[in-house]
Symmetry: C2
Subunit: 139 residues, 2 copies
DNA sequence: GTAATTGCAAATACTTTGCCACGTA
DNA sequence: TACGTGGCAAAGTATTTGCAATTAC
């Protein structure tokens, strides 16, 4: 995706074309991987251009419009689960009410995990798979 | 898994058998889904039994020993990524140094996502898949 | 008896908001 | 001009740590 088309999508979503928006989009495009607010605020393009609060609010707006995704579980707090040997669980999570339910189906990631284990040289490999959406009660 | 075997695994990992440990394990076993520190501290078994700091440190030790898993990205900060229509990325993350790299392979979750979309009644369904392990540089 | 563990409280870290000035449409 | 947006600073929330008292082994 080009910077121009990213800006167009934001404009179409009702956002104003500002310097901060352009620099943020350019930085996210360059990154090609998820970034934290602190990383974005410290990045060359943004550090001199705009306040951390501005980036925060831009990310928030972009996330609301579906143009940016916030990775990980959507609550502010960390989640912990008991590790049961031989058992793997995926989760189905409502982005509105935050409910979390185990997915009752075999996990389709096993083969890819083996492939990555072999090719990447990572040790102690495991994975997490979460599905997000709006649950029937919330929609 | 039974409470007894969970306790045994902790003992084998070198943890002392304390009231707080037993109650925490019992609560996690009951839950059958990931729990936040705040939820755990407020749960009936734990609220009167031990301090939030104790639960925090127990979770930390258990996570170190691999008996508990902390879900979501492992940094304290939230991660944001640009949404590119038609593009889906999985990530390979080092639990030691925190490096994040896109996985260069087709995502195997598509079919299951369709199945869940149909069966669960969730709207706007999407998923996240992350692989965790120790990268070659860190091991 | 010794070292791990706990409770309480204080310190951090990251996020979120209020308010007024500013810039885009 | 009007309303979305930006900067600065303060407040909020969850995490993390210090230290003395306690407890498991």
């Amino acid at each position: 995706m080009t910077l121009g088309s990213a800006i167009d999508r934001c404009r179409a979503a009702g956002l104003r074309r500002t310097k901060a928006l352009e620099e943020l989009l350019a930085t996210l495009l360059d990154a090609a991987r998820p970034m934290t607010l602190a990383e974005l605020a410290a990045s060359p393009r943004l550090v001199t251009q705009c306040d951390k609060a501005t980036i925060y609010r831009l990310l928030h707006r972009l996330t609301d419009k579906g143009l940016v995704r916030r990775l990980g579980l959507h609550e502010r707090a960390a989640y912990f689960a008991l590790v049961v040997p031989g058992q793997h669980r995926d989760y189905l999570i409502c982005t509105e009410c935050g409910s979390i339910a185990p997915v009752d189906a075999p996990c389709p990631v096993h083969d890819l995990e083996d492939e990555i284990r072999a090719k990447s040289g990572f040790q102690n490999l495991y994975h997490e798979l979460e599905f997000f959406g709006t649950c029937p009660d919330c929609s």
